[in-house]
Symmetry: C2
Subunit: 313 residues, 2 copies
């Protein structure tokens, strides 16, 4: 028996076959072409699901369920995507549409929640009963699972951890507020801070690593620190400070057993974890938190795997 997981993105529909242990055993994808009619996108999800089953010699009796992770606001109880701007979805009953076309039980949830659920079920959070997964990428996304349940908010509008303000009147955030965690701790924020520091400090080794500041990635400041660069060290120190402040806020509020860090920046592993843990234990209410900080293990497959496993709950 298998699950099918769909990571429905603005540019790509990624789909995978996941076994009962949560291993991704087959993967495929097709462009989303998000300007199309809703119906055509759903047709492609069904077509890809049937193709996977054919390739692996499976019938629909071998598939426990299909799970879809979608951007936007999703109502997992009714299987409806309430709103997904970049797909043009507006109250789309994706569960009904897929079930009618293929006759397999279908689940839906927000894509960030699915990625978090994947890490919780078979990734870094596997051994824990509750997990907060924070992805440090273009934005700062997250998903919270308490006692096995995804916490999406009463009206499916929660889980926007990147839009917790850490500094009233601080850095401008894309959401309109100022001082959001995302404006300090996303990979985008780190790149921006590094570029500004490189520009302001022409002698910084950051400028030796790249030909021009546009080439700076989230890895660049870490590389510069390895070359002994003080400017990069200050950028990283500030980055880790805000990461710690945000994490401590989360621990003080709902103290998950583990907080899993994902996204490109998390690949730095111990380089981030050691100073981060020191700050967290200094700052957590009452000191020395019992919450573990870990690094995500599923990479980009977390979304497919988590979506697939929605049906395992």
């Amino acid at each position: 028996m298998y699950y099918i997981g769909v990571d429905l993105g603005g540019t790509k529909i990624a789909i995978g076959l996941v076994d009962k242990k949560g291993h991704l055993v087959y993967k495929d994808s097709t462009p989303t072409l998000n300007e199309r009619d809703n119906e055509e996108i759903i047709d492609d999800i069904v077509k890809l699901s049937k193709k996977i089953m054919e390739e692996k010699g499976l019938t629909k009796e071998d598939i426990i369920s299909i799970g879809v992770g979608s951007p936007g606001t999703c109502n997992p109880n009714d299987g409806i995507i309430v709103k997904a701007y970049n797909l043009g979805f507006d109250n789309l009953n994706i569960r009904k549409m897929i079930e009618e076309r293929i006759g397999i039980k279908t689940y839906v949830d927000n894509d960030a929640n699915c990625a978090a659920f994947g890490e919780f079920k078979v990734g870094a959070g596997e051994a824990y009963n509750s997990a907060l997964v924070i992805t440090l990428g273009t934005g700062l996304g997250g998903g919270l699972i308490l006692n096995g349940n995804i916490i999406s908010g009463s009206y499916y509008g929660g889980g926007e951890f990147g839009h917790m303000v850490l500094s009233v009147d601080g850095r401008q955030c894309t959401c309109g507020r100022k001082g959001c965690w995302e404006a300090y701790s996303s990979a985008t924020a780190l790149i921006k801070a590094t570029r500004e520091a490189a520009k302001a400090n022409p002698s910084s080794k950051i400028n030796d690593i790249v030909n021009n500041i546009d080439e700076i990635t989230a890895k660049t400041p870490f590389d510069a620190v390895l070359l002994g660069d003080k400017v990069a060290k200050d950028v990283i120190d500030e980055y880790i400070l805000y990461l710690a402040e945000g994490i401590v806020n989360m621990i003080n509020c709902f103290e998950p057993e583990i907080i899993v860090l994902g996204g490109g920046v998390s690949a730095q592993g111990e380089v981030i974890l050691v100073p981060l843990n020191k700050l967290i234990n200094e700052k957590a209410f009452g000191g020395n938190t019992k919450t573990t900080i870990g690094i995500a293990t599923l990479g980009n497959d977390a979304g497919i795997i988590g979506a697939a496993l929605l049906g395992s709950n």
Copy 2:
């Protein structure tokens, strides 16, 4: 059938008889004398419980359960108060101690959680499935209930909503961190800000209301605003701004159906709610939150009632 609820404080043991509808039908109290042996405090809880039953002509068969709300870290699963500094409790199995003495099923949880649970069950949150209760008092305390369950954190160290930093490097908090919500939105913070404003602005009407700034309470700035005082208006505006920022953070994270405001400041009702709702709807991710903001209705009895109703879940 009735519940007994105990609000165990550093100075007073308050106890009440609560009917199945959550009405407090009888109340009593005795000084805690918190320097005493643990055993003596427990003995007094049992003695008061027996006294209540006697007064009301009840036997232990009429009591469904006893619930105790205690300061400090409580493990509701095992019925243990892990640590309560002001009572000198250290891993005290209060459930076992009470049950052995009186033969009635006993529950325990943190006092702030009990007060929140009371408001959730039979107060301002009665009609909702999830509630965050924020008490604006000496500190800023809170309790979160999702789908009927109190969220205490995996190791019972969560629920410290007042210690969410809103302003990295901001106002000093008693917890050691800087910029905590409590340092801006507790009644204590409001009083402090009002005193500073009154001192800095001798012509402010705040100074007309009180004989000296030590007399300023959390009500004073609201009274001064009613007299048209601009200085007090600025204090209140800033107070409500930070209250809104903290509330929006909570909505963005887990979007409860209702956020209930308790404590003395909340008695201002619409005076706070109208500008607060405006700010919240401007700032919430995606705008116009569906979360309701309400005012607590149970007052100081919330703790007893919530403790009593722990056994109703």
